[in-house]
């Protein structure tokens, strides 16, 4: 063994010392090696290149393979590997309303896998900061046009038969910076005002069936208990369809940023309608004109009229690999190598039924494949196998749903809405892939 090590000593030095200095004390060899630490990059090149040399990471025991690991008693609530510290929500002062309370932190879609977002990476947007609710002091009130105006504790709410559903939640301002042209050269910021989870709660229709709702009730106000008392008006038909009060998120309690202990979930609809820390539902004959359904979340069209009570997030898609954060550059791709182009498609109006991919910015399309679970009002993964040829590309994806909607081009959408709508932008998106494999956010406009 020592002979082998000596033969490769130069290499072993670089591989063994960049992180764990503890091990260097174990053997004289490592002690000597510690004196000449070189960059990790050298090892990576060697590992991926066809040099004919043996990879020291294979030829020698890795440092974590010879000592005891952590006891199971460490991290009673598990945390990611420290090497994953760059996989985090991010924010920008451009999207803050003066402070970091009425603000948003967006999901790193470029590091997302599958159709579930880990709870700690779920995008976070609130209008008065993250409230910290004592679950023992939580009360839910239902009042207004019902025979029985009621109050419940959290435990009482959780006694209802539960339902579990996988849905994305998307801020309708997702992509809203890009109306007048591409702005964010980043997947996380261009499309990360959304995330997806498996939610557990109760259908509101299962609660109100016992309360004697008046036929005059056309609307339901949902009001938060946080400092902003975020409120939105929901039409009765959504309440009778799939509206839920949820307390579970990916198998555990909601995170505070998602409205612990209870939030409204309106599958497929604007995130702000899914009121967090919800304390009250009021049924009424007239809409409420709450602050966030007039001052914000209305889409001004070029006619000068604004769409109010805009509900569902329309059919949409994005390419996650490659993307500005995950370019092909630096991956050692050679002409003829096979590479997967993949992404996410979603629709708040139904189920994704297909995705087309264009390599020339939307001039010509071919069908891509869906993969994994295909669920209503849910993220859906899609995939296209590409033979890398080193040429520049314009990657554009285009999704369809079972309600019959297909993503519009930038021109098609803006011809109706103009460029001042802020919300509900779902035109196709284009990444320019350069010959060097860099990826940039562009748009195709006439």
């Amino acid at each position: 063994m020592s002979k082998n090590m000596n033969e490769n000593s130069e290499v072993v030095e670089t591989a063994s010392n960049e992180i764990d200095s503890e091990q260097t004390s174990r053997r004289d060899f490592f002690k000597k090696a510690a004196a000449s630490v070189t960059a990790l990059a050298g090892t990576s090149l060697l590992a991926s290149g066809d040099t004919g040399k043996d990879d020291p990471l294979i030829m020698h025991h890795v440092k974590w393979g010879q000592k005891l690991g952590d006891p199971v008693t460490k991290n009673r609530y598990g945390i990611p590997s420290p090497y994953e510290h760059n996989n985090v929500r991010r924010n920008t002062s451009l999207l803050a309303s003066g402070n970091w309370q009425a603000s948003i932190a967006v999901t790193p879609l470029h590091e997302s896998e599958g159709i579930i977002t880990p709870n700690g990476l779920f995008f976070s947007r609130s209008h008065g900061g993250t409230a910290h609710v004592d679950p023992n002091e939580y009360r839910l009130m239902i009042n207004g046009l019902v025979d029985k105006e009621i109050v419940m504790t959290l435990n009482e709410l959780k006694r209802y038969p539960s339902v579990t559903r996988t849905h994305f939640i998307e801020c309708p301002a997702n992509g809203g910076q890009e109306w007048r042209g591409p702005q964010f050269n980043s997947l996380q910021f261009a499309k990360g005002f959304m995330a997806s989870a498996e939610w557990t709660g109760v259908y509101i229709k299962d609660i109100i069936k016992d309360l004697g709702v008046s036929p005059k009730a056309l609307w339901m106000l949902a009001e938060g208990s946080d400092n902003s008392e975020m409120g939105r008006t929901v039409p009765m038909d959504k309440v009778l369809d799939d509206a839920m009060l949820v307390w579970g998120q990916n198998g555990e309690a909601l995170r505070p940023e998602q409205g612990y202990p209870v939030r409204l979930l309106l599958p497929g609809w604007e995130g702000n309608l899914c009121v967090k820390w919800v304390k009250r539902l009021e049924f009424a004959a007239e809409p409420f004109y709450a602050k966030e359904e007039t001052s914000k979340y209305t889409a001004l069209k070029k006619t000068g009229k604004a769409i109010q009570h805009f509900y569902a997030n329309e059919v949409n898609s994005t390419v996650t690999h490659p993307s500005p954060e995950k370019p092909w550059k630096g991956q050692g791709l050679k002409k003829g190598d096979i590479v997967e182009i993949q992404g996410i498609a979603w629709s708040g109006m139904g189920t994704i039924t297909g995705v087309d991919i264009s390599l020339d910015g939307g001039k010509n399309y071919v069908p891509a494949n869906l993969k994994g679970l295909v669920l209503p009002k849910s993220w859906t993964r899609w995939s296209y196998i590409h033979v890398y040829d080193g040429k520049s590309l314009l990657l554009t994806s285009r999704a369809m749903d079972d309600a019959g909607y297909i993503q519009p081009t930038v021109d098609e959408e803006t011809s109706v809405t103009g460029v001042e709508a802020v919300y509900h932008r779902n035109a196709v998106e284009t990444w320019e892939v350069t010959e060097e494999g860099e990826v940039n956010h562009v748009q195709i406009r006439s």
């Binding site: 609660i207 069936k209 609809w269 004959a285 509900y311 779902n426």
Partner: protein, 379 residues
């Protein structure tokens, strides 16, 4: 060989068929609700329970056969009154009154540090006025395209919001931001009166331009909002939900494209000749990302010493950019009781609107102390 080729041809044909089938995939969706026979209110689809499933999900049908009245109790009248405080175009604000003058005093004491003089929105909090509401209402068709430097539509309370009830309710339930639900009904009337004043709005035909003007529950209903009819669909009245349903089932209203058959979608030569690539201009893209974007997988670096200037910029500048800013002379009026008292106020917050620790509970007392010293001394 021939047989094999034919087999392949058949296989290829059925693969094509399969793809078509995938496009017309049967998800169990319907375009009408089963409970009222009407089109889906958002323009989407519905998944009725069929064979024990809604879409791909099984449901327990027994759950709807029982009453769960043991899960709740009736609310008391007082409880409902305590929580049901919404103020809408049809549920008017409670009895009370307030003048523009009183509103201005309250504004200067509790609002100006974030919303700027006369609601100008200096700093990055929302502007509350940009001038005469009726003039600004004429900007609603403005488009900042193709000229990005053109004047856009001005969307502030006076020019854009349809109803003043929203402002009254907003102020009382959500303002001032660090200390909400602290204003009385009369104070809320006074601040709303001040909002009318800075937006030069009319009440019962008269422009609010006098500090003596008093807003109360009677003349509140006579505020003339210029953009009252600037929204679609019309959601008021017994047809409100039907109007929504009709509006969102016509994709042309919102720039959507709804097809009867996806086989008709364009797959070849789908672009106009004038189509061109628009890219982010050199250096013009937004790069202000926190933390900076990186996909490197290494061990996190140890944090350096705390930088009070960076702490100020991350937590305080929004309100303190123009008011008690670093090194400002006006600090002399606040340091009479010594620096420890200023630091203590910064930690616990003040009645004047300063939230505890500037709103960032993650800051330690020592970090707050360093920030306060930086702000008072300007270095």
């Amino acid at each position: 060989m021939f047989k094999l080729d034919r087999k392949l041809a058949v296989l290829a044909a059925s693969a094509t068929l399969l793809f078509s089938a995938a496009n017309a995939m049967d998800t169990g969706a319907t375009k009408k609700y089963d409970f009222n026979g009407k089109a889906i209110v958002d323009g989407g689809v519905y998944y009725p329970v069929k064979n024990g499933k809604t879409g791909p999900y099984y449901v327990n049908p027994s759950r709807t056969k029982h009453s769960f009245k043991g899960n709740w109790r009736l609310a008391t009248k007082n409880e409902i009154a305590a929580w049901d405080k919404d103020v809408t175009p049809t549920q008017h604000p409670p009895k009370g009154k307030g003048t523009v003058e009183h509103g201005e005093e309250l504004y200067e004491a509790q609002c100006v540090m974030c919303h700027g003089d006369f609601g100008s929105g200096e700093g990055s909090y929302p502007a509350l006025s940009r001038g005469n509401a009726y003039d600004l209402h004429k900007t609603m068709k403005n488009q900042r395209y193709p000229d990005p430097e053109a004047d856009g539509p001005v969307r502030v309370f006076g020019s854009y919001w349809p109803d003043a009830s929203t402002m009254w309710w907003y102020i009382q339930s959500g303002m001032p931001h660090p200390n909400t639900k602290s204003l009385s009904d009369d104070e809320t009337y006074a601040l709303t009166a001040y909002m009318l004043y800075i937006n030069e709005l009319r009440v019962d035909g008269e422009v609010v331009e006098d500090g003596e003007f008093e807003l109360n529950q009677d003349n509140f209903l006579k505020i003339e909002m210029p953009n009252k009819h600037g929204f679609e669909p019309v959601i008021d009245g017994p047809q409100g939900q039907e109007n929504s349903r009709k509006y969102f089932n016509n994709a042309k209203n919102f720039g959507g494209i709804r097809m009867a058959d996806f086989d008709d979608r364009c797959m070849k030569n789908c672009q106009k000749k004038s189509a061109k690539v628009v890219s982010i201009p050199e250096g013009g893209g937004i790069k202000d990302f926190l933390p900076p974007i990186s996909v490197v997988r290494d061990l996190p670096k140890a944090e350096g010493p705390f930088d009070p200037k960076a702490g100020y910029e991350a937590n305080c500048v929004a309100c303190h950019g123009g008011f008690l800013s670093p090194g400002a002379a006006e600090w002399a009026g606040y340091t009479g009781k010594g620096m420890d008292a200023v630091v203590a106020n910064a930690i616990k917050g003040t009645a004047g609107g300063m939230p505890p620790k500037g709103g960032n509970a993650d800051l330690t007392d020592e970090q707050i102390k360093q920030i306060v010293h930086f702000m008072v001394n300007g270095k």
